[in-house]
């Protein structure tokens, strides 16, 4: 056996090595975090990282991005000092400055803008929601601006799904992989799902939405069967019992097809429908609106609904507040057509929600579903039956659900699948996901933590909140597409500055990135906080160097466990985001509530009964016990979801709303349905003649997190070039060979990719990667790290958000593809 490796181990002999525990979240692996890690230090320097075998989340495992962390932390191009622009904006000329000088300058410039134009004229923009979300809100709110912006068109990542589920179900839910239980799959309380629907999600690459992707592999080894819904042959599709290769963007029609089979073949949970849905509530036939108590009597409440009592043969009130009927022994009708007298004496016909819901579902016979989705009728039916008959079964969905303008009616339809099959909040089903101990470290849609705006009055200026119901009710963000327009129009008020933190609108998250470049250059003052220069930092006036997760203290509660992030190293003058924002927040707000970040952490952790230091001493993580509202199972029956502890849900009616009273109030369709996306061969037959291929984007690489990590050698060697996947038949017809550079082009722009000829994509679609720029290239304008070469977002427009301000056409544009060679175009 070789001796060379012993030397390696001698040089890192155990006595020199200090091992410290912490939790991943954000900068470094870049992801949504949660993994327990052991940081190996020698003389205060990080030499290695390993997975913590005692941590219930990852159980010793760790991904490639985390394992490459030493190359990230000590990268020669890492930003290590605050920088101040000295040339023109975008010229790439910088001067080092001290933190004090940088803070003073930022304070002065931002206070001037606040004074001259109001705090709302400053936008606080973030990339994908990570620990940074809280700290950006803290800074924005201390400054007085309600305009925190998630920089993707239509806020099209996770928030729309959460908001859709909360609209009809009150609380959000996720696949149950035993993550609430310390002994996980071994716990007697847990059941392995017999079937898991993996809807628009691929494994090797990602741990999305706070689910560790490989948990699903663990469950497959324990017998779970997979239904994969994906136009690509994902890893899951390859291993699936059923693979439904749908046309991108038609998920809504497929979900309606599933509902059609499940309802019409009697595979639904009748008890759930009877006890826990608003199926009995009456809808007026004259107005097509829910019948409310206020329709019947002058003193009646608009928030109470009406059912037909088959015992007394008259309408009876469902008191939403009390979560019970106004009279005793009510036997409400689930089906039927009834005549009801209104308070003004008129008599109207009314139908039950269940009947109305069923007639909507019946608009999707399988032959229509097959025509829309391209999935054969029998495959839809068999998959729906497999899902409905498996007990328990769960659904894990990915971001493609958000990435279509009709996100909400789509997510709504999928939500009813787990509800109507009795899989909600049961072991191995879809479990209600609350922040551990209800300690909100990062306020996702619907949640309110300790970091909040000073008054509702300030929130009235939030861009889009008045126009879009979900933004008013659940999502505490400015509507991104409207912000971009307002930067140009100044209507209803001017936008003068932007704080960009963990956010790369030019090279990553921004659709139509040239428009973002133009917009950002119009602003008076721009601050970027990041770990490396990116195409976007080039447009800033001040660039502040942030820290990786190893260089900061923090808290995490998304969803479980409740965790601490523990500072194990420091690097140059880099500062944790929380400390940067905390310092400035104190300067902006004379009434700022906390003295130190540890006071803030303790305040966040308060509902758990532990302080930051106490949680750290416990080993850095804790799980809520059964009986806590943040621990499963069966919470709607036990009265653990509502604040008043009555059984039911936190919806307006206290029921799962098959017909959404909230959407009705917002003037939107209350029922789930399908809408054809804006740029498909069906909706744009003329464009499709010129651009015959469906352009889908966003499939993940295991070694990159969105636009990050192209500068990490161990990762870049695995994935050196931007890839477009093309089916072999399509490639042959276009004369394209694997490894050749091609143009992907449509009416909005074009960019270059290396062709990967592979049958994982269908003949009619190409999959182009997102997030590409080239850190090894020149940073200054015009190249901006060669970002225009391969940034596929140049082919996707802004401004196509759905009717509720959510969703964007990211997975289903149109394009043509041709060889780059010789510069000649076909």
């Amino acid at each position: 056996m070789s001796h060379s490796f012993e030397k390696v181990n001698q040089s890192m002999s155990d006595k020199d090595i200090q091992i410290l525990k912490t939790t991943t979240w954000s900068a470094g692996p870049g992801c949504h975090g949660g993994c327990g890690v052991l940081a190996h230090l020698k003389d205060g320097r990080l030499v290695k990282i390993e997975g913590d075998p005692e941590h219930p989340w990852n159980q010793g495992r760790l991904c490639s991005r985390a394992l490459a962390i030493t190359q990230y932390v000590y990268h020669p191009n890492r930003l290590t000092h605050p920088l101040r622009r000295v040339g023109e904006r975008g010229e790439g000329k910088w001067e080092k400055t001290s933190w004090d000088e940088a803070f003073d300058l930022i304070e002065r410039r931002m206070k001037k803008i606040r004074q001259d134009f109001g705090p709302e004229s400053f936008i606080f923009s973030m990339g994908t929601g990570r620990d940074i979300g809280s700290w950006i809100c803290m800074l924005a709110y201390a400054y007085g601006s309600p305009n925190v912006m998630f920089s993707l068109s239509g806020i099209a990542c996770y928030s729309p799904r959460m908001s859709a589920v909360e609209t009809v179900q009150g609380d959000y839910c996720v696949i149950d992989a035993g993550q609430w239980l310390a002994d996980r799959y071994e716990s007697p309380k847990y059941k392995t799902p017999e079937c898991i629907v993996v809807w628009g999600y691929d494994i090797p690459a990602s741990c999305p939405d706070n689910v560790f992707g490989h948990w699903i592999i663990d469950l497959m080894k324990r017998g779970a069967r997979i239904i994969a819904i994906d136009p690509r042959l994902s890893w899951f599709a390859s291993r699936a019992t059923k693979w439904l290769r749908l046309r991108p963007g038609t998920d809504g029609a497929l979900a309606m097809g599933f509902l059609n089979v499940i309802i019409n073949e009697g595979l639904y949970d009748e008890e759930f429908v009877e006890k826990w849905t608003n199926g009995h509530h009456l809808i007026r036939c004259d107005t097509s609106r829910l019948l409310r108590e206020s329709d019947l009597v002058d003193s009646g409440s608009r928030s109470n609904f009406v059912v037909w009592d088959t015992e007394s043969e008259k309408p009876t009130i469902w008191d939403s507040h009390e979560a019970r009927y106004r009279s005793a022994n009510v036997k409400p009708a689930l089906r039927g057509d009834f005549e009801v007298d209104l308070k003004d004496g008129t008599r109207v016909h009314a139908k039950t929600v269940w009947d109305r819901f069923r007639s909507e579902v019946n608009k999707y016979p399988l032959e229509r579903v097959a025509e829309i989705t391209l999935v054969p009728e029998k495959d839809v039916r068999n998959a729906a039956i497999l899902y409905a008959k498996s007990k328990p079964a769960s659904i894990h969905w990915g971001v493609p659900i958000d990435m279509t303008p009709a996100i909400t009616p789509t997510a709504q339809a999928i939500t009813y699948l787990w509800c109507l099959t009795g899989n909600l909040d049961v072991p191995g089903g879809n479990v209600i996901s609350r922040y551990a101990f209800d300690a909100v470290a990062y306020a996702l849609p619907g949640a309110e933590g300790v970091i909040k705006l000073k008054s509702k009055e300030v929130d009235k200026k939030r861009i889009g909140a008045d126009r879009y119901g979900p933004l008013n009710k659940f999502i505490w963000r400015a509507q991104t597409d409207l912000v971009l327009e307002q930067i140009f129009t100044g209507d209803p008020y001017p936008i003068k500055g932007m704080w960009m933190q963990a956010c790369n609108p030019i090279g990553g998250i921004g659709l139509d990135p040239k428009r973002w470049e133009e917009a950002i250059k119009k602003l008076e003052f721009v601050v970027a906080v990041d770990l490396f220069h990116t195409p976007s930092t080039q447009l800033a006036d001040i660039v502040l160097p942030a820290a990786t997760f190893l260089e900061k203290d923090g808290v995490r509660s998304w969803w479980v466990p409740l965790q601490t992030i523990n500072k194990v190293i420091t690097v140059a003058e880099c500062k944790p985001d929380v400390e940067i924002n905390f310092e400035l927040a104190k300067r902006f707000d004379p009434d700022f509530r906390w003295d130190t970040i540890y006071d803030l952490f303790d305040d966040i952790l308060k509902p758990s009964g532990m302080t930051f230091r106490e949680l750290q001493k416990r080993g850095g993580w804790a799980l809520p016990r059964e009986g806590d509202p943040s621990a499963p199972y069966h919470r709607f029956n036990k009265g653990l979801l509502r604040k008043d502890r009555r059984p039911g849900f936190q919806t307006p009616s206290g029921k799962v709303e098959l017909y959404s009273s909230m959407r009705e109030e917002w003037g939107l369709e209350p029922l789930p349905h399908y809408e054809e996306p804006p740029f498909t061969p069906i909706s744009q037959p003329e464009l499709a003649k010129k651009y015959p291929l469906i352009l889908s984007t966003g499939r993940r690489s295991p070694v990159y997190f969105h636009s990050e990590h192209r500068n990490i050698p161990w990762l870049r060697q695995i994935h050196p070039d931007p890839i477009v996947e093309i089916h072999p038949d399509t490639a042959r017809s276009l004369g394209i060979g694997s490894g050749e550079w091609v143009w992907v082009e449509n009416w909005l722009g074009r960019c270059q990719f290396k062709a990967k000829v592979t049958p994982v994509v269908p003949e009619w679609m190409v999959m182009a990667e997102h997030g590409w720029w080239f850190p090894e290239k020149e940073g200054a304008e015009p190249t901006l790290f060669d970002v225009w070469k391969s940034n596929v977002n140049q082919l996707i427009p802004m401004g196509y958000q759905g009717k509720d301000g959510l969703g964007a056409p990211i997975k289903h544009m149109l394009c043509k593809v041709f060889k780059v060679s010789g510069g000649c175009r076909p």
Binding site: R61, C63, S64, L67, H214, S238, I718, V760
Partner: protein
């Protein structure tokens, strides 16, 4: 101990569950601080069209000439770096004779590097 009687160790890979996450490759690079393009483990992708028209996608981690089966780690009672971190838990280290007995299911490969 002579060559003949020395226990031969190897890696058993259940490639039915290898998802192509490249963890093993980077775990190895980190353990031995490998320069770029020098790999101790290399993940290989294959796609095969099946007669039913459905492609089958496989990834196989291939231990290269540089793989020492992490002898230094083993002596400390640790697993090889790739085994420890494998996200799909589809790599197992042990004496090849024992591992061979575990090859009861299909889609497995037993590597005995160098």
């Amino acid at each position: 101990m002579s060559e003949e009687t020395e226990t031969k160790y190897g890696l058993l890979i259940d490639y039915e569950f290898c998802t192509g996450c490249f963890t093993c490759q980077v775990a190895c690079a980190q353990e031995y601080l490998r320069p770029r393009d020098i790999l101790g483990m290399q993940v290989i992708e294959t796609i095969q069209m099946l007669p039913n028209g459905k492609p089958y996608l496989s990834f196989i981690p291939f231990p290269t000439e540089l793989c020492s089966l992490c002898v230094g780690r083993i002596r400390k009672g640790l697993e090889p770096a790739c085994v420890k971190h494998c996200m799909a838990k589809c790599i197992k280290h042990g004496p090849v004779e024992d591992l061979a007995k575990e090859m009861k299911k299909g889609r497995m490969v037993l590597w005995a590097p160098r």
